[in-house]
Homo-oligomer: 381 residues x 2
DNA sequence: ACCAGTTTCGGGAAAGTTCCCGATAGTTTT
DNA sequence: AAAACTATCGGGAACTTTCCCGAAACTGGT
């Protein structure tokens, strides 16, 4: 009753177990195991078939190699054939599959950008600058935020590496003390450029601003305005920006012969709650400061809000200077004196260096200038 | 002098032209063309070879199928073999190549997010909400901004589709009147969910807030505060949100028997410059408004700045209400009355619906509630 | 007609996975 | 002991593209 799939005979076929729910048969004559082929039903589970070069080749009765050559602008092809292929490709709306190309070349044309957050002005703007350059160069961008968590940062780096990004633009978290995950990136020779929050212990290109000069100017400005007891609400020591701005603060004090009071120097983790807590703490001191230099504008603004809620008059009783010149600084009352940094340009430069890195690996540190923008929050008239 | 590459004989070999700069030969005896193989030099242009399942298979002397089964947690495998494979995979730090998988399955595990901008509070926050859900589900995110330009939006959609994203989360530009590019997306059966700025002419899932109710409440609040000549600086008519908030504005006026003055209704393109221009225009009218309902918070804030610069007192001479409750609204002086919308949640819901869409396509419109937050900019006491 | 040289095209490997299905060996049932 | 069944593994296609290299079909020149 059952024909052998090989010799087409019936007599020697016998049952031989079940495989994956299907009856199996064995033909003694030709020593051959087989199962009955299922009737293939409506094969509609192939939803969207993108047009491939093979489709074009079949349509024109030529080989896929020729189609590929035409599309890639090779020379080894007849002008008429090329035109024919190009026309059909356009007509069929052919889109080359980047996945196949990526698999073959091990290049995805995607760069990863990893930032601590993008709720405030700074990081979104850097990203926009980077995107401007990268998309011009034909790269897509995959953005991750570490949320100021070391574990998330490690996980994100892993995820981006697993996605086989061609390069990485990174600003580390406040908690990043161990940088082994970035060493892994370097070991796999994936270009890596840090910006703003950099890793000086790694030999990688970096884009930063002149944090020291900016901080120095800011604090000197406060001194020139007559403030004498100047506090500094600083970032965590782990970040180089914190240390550089701190040094600018200290040197400015020293230059003008002002004492350094450790009570007035606070390192914190850049969260809003802590900013409020330390602002309150500073203003509650027996000898409160008459001015505060904040590590960045969001911090400065938290201080302003706390000062306002305590009835402390700005700038008369408290001068405040921030860093970064977020747009909100010009809007708040009184407007915030701050150190302007070319944020958009930082993104552009980071992207540029990353692209260069892909061509020709080299270490480059790019430093952008800062400029003090004096507004109402520090003019003690 | 030249041996045939096939029969190893010398006598019948003759020159036969040149191919790509290399001398070609022909053996009459075996009717065979050939060129001399080049001496292969140091093949060091294979930079980083990732560990593959084939490496594991070769190492253990088994087939790649078996390795794949072990790694994918299949049942058809011996427990000992699986353990052996898993151990070696861990030791070699094996990472499956997502490109190969994507090529095979036509799934990239990437979703694209397309927004008009992310300089303000709203869109970055939505994106964060969406990312929270999507990354939990194992998806990476590719973010593009159309920069309020229709052409850029079309180009971005094309780029994301070309990158073979598995789904799309979109908020359209102010200039988007033609939606053919989204029809292309739907035609290729790529899940597409709109949020905030939606396309009602397309049959797609959408996530919106109750714009009508929010606007109605806002305007009614102004009326209850005693304002009688209420202007509306609205968004472009092309956006549904504009139309809905407009309707809320109109209905609130009507309910309280206030006349509609077309002079006080301005549609604009949501750029900062135009906001300033129209704010100035409104305040320069012979009969200026005594309150303005703004389409969103950035607009409201521009109006506040213009009013301040003209010496118009808020809220005494001009009441202002915004929409969205950006953090800056609580900070500005006076604090801005605004309609709060669950922005983060909007991102979460959009992502959730997109994920559902991938499983089981269906049309769903999700509407989130709004809530009026009354602050100083509208309390005419 | 014969050969050298050029132009144009096709075949097939490679990239790394998953999955279908056949194959084998071993185990249990009749 | 044959028949029926299970557990485990290997082979190879498929996904799409690029690229190497050989093959065929030309062109001229002798």
């Amino acid at each position: 009753m059952i024909k052998c799939a090989k010799c087409r005979q019936i007599d020697f076929v016998q049952k031989s177990g079940i495989v994956r729910g299907k009856q199996r048969y064995f033909c003694k004559a030709c020593d051959y195991h087989f199962t009955l082929p299922e009737v293939v039903e409506n094969r509609k589970n192939k939803p969207r078939h993108q047009v491939t070069i093979i489709d074009i080749a079949n349509e024109l009765g030529i080989s896929k190699s020729t189609v590929s050559r035409a599309l890639r602008g090779h020379t080894d092809i007849h002008e008429g054939t090329r035109k024919m292929i190009l026309d059909l490709a356009q007509q069929l709306e052919y889109q080359p599959n980047p996945l196949a190309n990526a698999l073959l070349k091990s290049r995805t044309n995607i760069v990863g950008i990893l930032v601590p957050e993008f709720r405030h002005y700074f990081f979104p703007t850097v990203i926009m600058g980077a995107q401007e350059i990268l998309s011009k160069a034909g790269y897509n961008v995959m953005i991750c935020q570490s949320d100021e968590s070391y574990e998330t940062e490690v996980a994100n780096v892993k995820a981006l590496m697993n996605s086989r990004v061609d390069g990485l633009l990174v600003s580390v978290t406040t908690q990043t003390n161990n940088v082994d995950h970035f060493r892994t990136v370097l070991r796999k020779e994936v270009p890596l450029v840090f910006f703003n929050r950099v890793c000086p212990e790694l030999d990688t290109p970096q884009v930063i601003v002149d944090d020291y000069a900016g901080a120095f100017q800011a604090v000197e400005h406060l001194i020139q305005q007559g403030y004498r007891r100047i506090a500094h609400l600083a970032g965590p020591v782990s970040l180089l920006v914190s240390r550089l701005r701190m040094k600018g603060y200290l040197d400015a004090l020293q230059k003008h012969g002002l004492p350094v009071d450790n009570e007035l120097i606070i390192h914190y983790d850049l969260t809003e709650e802590k900013a409020r807590i330390y602002a309150n703490y500073l203003l509650s001191l027996a000898q409160p400061p008459d001015a505060i230099f904040a590590i960045n504008d969001p911090t400065a603004i938290e201080i302003m809000l706390v000062a306002k809620s305590r009835g402390v008059k700005i700038p008369q009783e408290l001068g405040i200077v921030g860093f970064s010149n977020d747009p909100i600084s010009a809007i708040i009352e009184p407007p915030l004196t701050t150190v302007e940094q070319p944020v958009w340009e930082m993104g552009r430069q980071a992207a540029r260096i990353l692209l260069e890195q892909m061509e020709n690996p080299h270490i480059e540190t790019y430093q952008l200038p800062t400029r003090l923008v004096v507004r109402g929050s520090s003019v003690n008239c």
